[in-house]
């Protein structure tokens, strides 16, 4: 009923891409079965660094999911028509990202069979409980909105009246998922790297840079594959959003660095030292962090100069840099470094193990798989031209 039949047919390239993703998913699944059998000992995590790649990917992807609001809000609240064709891509991206988030949480559990204990014994004083509620709700909201609007588009009928309040609800909800995720970390005593009121604002800024950056790249990719280029106005507006969000994000990061290093309080400094210079001879994240910083700086140069930002090739490059830079920052550094040094001053190195990486890759492949199917459905509904203007959808915005 949800038009899934549209996703079953495609060109040779499409089938190969799906096959490749399925292979990655299978490899990840096989490793997960191994983890289920032997426990989380097959990962690189330890008593001191008790969260690693999984939770870090989760954190990063919550941001990507939340960023859908950056296309939904201008379109539905400000009637910014250029986004008419793109909102659905943003919503589908949110669906795929939230699904990945949930999977990353799930594979991180020591006793996955008991995961529903969270709902069986609801615990409002635990942020994990709220995170589950907000993520689940966000998934349902976006899935419903995207599928309903797509369906009305296909049938050429005006959208049902009840969808607008749901769309309006999805906007603050997007902000909430990343705020709650930040609260998960910044409310903990004894983890100085996270214990900062700016964590939630910083999460949102980096989310609104990385998510739209990915969306720009996806639009360009889909446009090229379907030989139907996305509207330039839409991409430029998105590029502007990425620019502002990235500037604010870098500003926030610099504020963190200043506060920690100028106050010179050891426990605030040490995790940052571990990230940027290494601690007690351990420097596994140092090259990563400097690559992240360099990419952030380079992307800002490309984005801030209007002439460069409006060049499609340079914009694509800048978006790639933003995305990768923030992935390093949030998808590796921020989570792992908070555990170094340990509460007892120990510096324990963490590097993800091969099965851990394969499981993570498998989940990313599941996300890409879901996104591909959903985009394929949207594409079929719109007659193989995702970005051609349509009148039916404009109705919802009014």
């Amino acid at each position: 009923m949800f038009m899934f039949e549209k996703a079953l047919t495609g060109s040779r390239g499409y089938r190969l891409w799906i096959l490749g993703l399925l292979l990655l998913i299978t490899a990840g699944l096989a490793c997960y079965l191994l983890q289920l059998r032997y426990g989380l000992a097959i990962t690189g995590m330890s008593r001191d660094v008790s969260w690693g790649l999984y939770i870090a990917q989760f954190t990063f992807l919550v941001g990507v999911a939340a960023s859908a609001v950056m296309v939904v809000l201008p379109y539905y609240l400000h009637h910014f028509q250029e986004f008419a064709r793109i909102t659905i891509l943003g919503e589908f991206l949110a669906v795929a990202s939230v699904t990945m988030c949930m999977l990353f949480i799930f594979v991180d559990m020591g006793q996955p069979a008991r995961v529903f204990n969270v709902l069986l014994y609801p615990t409002p004083h635990s942020l994990m409980f709220w995170d589950m509620i907000s993520l689940g709700g966000y998934l349902v909201l976006n899935a419903v909105i995207a599928l309903v609007t797509l369906r009305t588009e296909r049938e050429g009928v005006p959208p049902p009246g009840w969808i607008r309040p749901i769309i309006l609800l999805s906007m603050p909800w997007a902000v909430s998922i990343h705020t709650v995720t930040a609260f998960l970390y910044c409310g903990l005593p004894g983890r100085p790297l996270w214990l900062t009121a700016i964590l939630a604002p910083r999460f949102l800024a980096s989310a609104f840079a990385a998510g739209p950056a990915l969306l720009i790249l996806l639009c360009m990719l889909v446009g090229r594959l379907t030989k139907s280029p996305p509207g330039r106005g839409a991409l430029r507006k998105l590029g502007l959003i990425v620019t502002y969000a990235m500037v604010i994000n870098v500003f926030f990061v610099l504020m963190e660095l200043f506060t920690a290093f100028y106050s010179a309080i050891p426990e605030d400094e040490q995790p940052l030292r571990y990230l940027f210079t290494g601690l007690q001879g351990h420097r596994p994240l140092v090259p990563w962090m400097w690559i992240s910083m360099a990419l952030a700086a380079a992307s800002l140069v490309l984005l801030i100069v209007p002439r460069w930002r409006q060049d499609d090739k340079l914009l694509a490059m800048a978006c790639g840099m933003v995305f990768f830079s923030l992935w390093i920052d949030k998808g590796i550094g921020l989570i792992v470094a908070a555990f170094v040094p340990s509460p007892l001053g120990a510096v324990t190195a963490y590097a993800p193990s091969l099965p851990e990486v394969l499981i993570s890759l498998g989940i990313w492949a599941i996300g890409a798989f879901i996104l591909t199917l959903l985009y394929k459905i949207a594409l079929s509904v719109r007659g193989d031209s995702l970005f051609a203007p349509d009148v039916a959808l404009v109705e919802v915005a009014k």
């Binding site: 995590m45 008790s50 008991r114 994990m128 007892l344």
Partner: protein
Amino acid sequence: MSLTRQSFLRLSGLSFVAACARKLRSAVAPARWGMVVDVAQCLKQPNCTKCIAACNQAHNIPSIPDPRREVRWIWKDSFQHGFGIEDDYAQISAAPLMLLCNHCDNPPCVRVCPTQATWKREDGIVAMDWHRCIGCRYCMAACPYGSRSFNWMDPRPYIRTVNPEFPTRTKGVVEKCNLCSERLVAGQPPACVEACPEKALVFGNLADPHSAIRELLRTRRAVRRKPELGTRPQVFYIV
């Protein structure tokens, strides 16, 4: 079952009295278990690990050689690490220190647990239900003392001699010191306290002003780990 009005009233009255009595008892004499570690006393035998051995034996704690996968309830670290103090001149910085769960009065681990698999009992012990724990390790991130361990793998093959009186754990759950709640029920002191040859570990009821532990805290200078975090540890160190 038929219930006459008279017996209903009698039962209600009785339950009311029972509830009041229970409240009254906990109001009059609520036990508040705590511990004092007399560091100088402990240092008399610097290589002694009897408390650790007793605890490990009593609680089926696995001896896992890889320190990254280690499970520990009570262990030895340096004073400097335990208290985070870098004092270049004091000899005590490098001195060994016994560390365990602080059974905080305001425990962050309890606050964050999404399933109430860890909670604070009325007597102040921070307890755990290993059958409810989902293994999310949020409590480990929240504990500012590094007192919690995770079973990264099945611990059973690493248990030297199994104590049939105490449960073993499965892979994928968090565990920590339970202040020997199973022994307290039987009127015994914690295993580590009993095993200490120097009586360096003093266990008792902090709520009783006449207890030995209160006497010790009144007359000697005691410190707690990271008091600035507001967790209010119930394990004290006499320096």
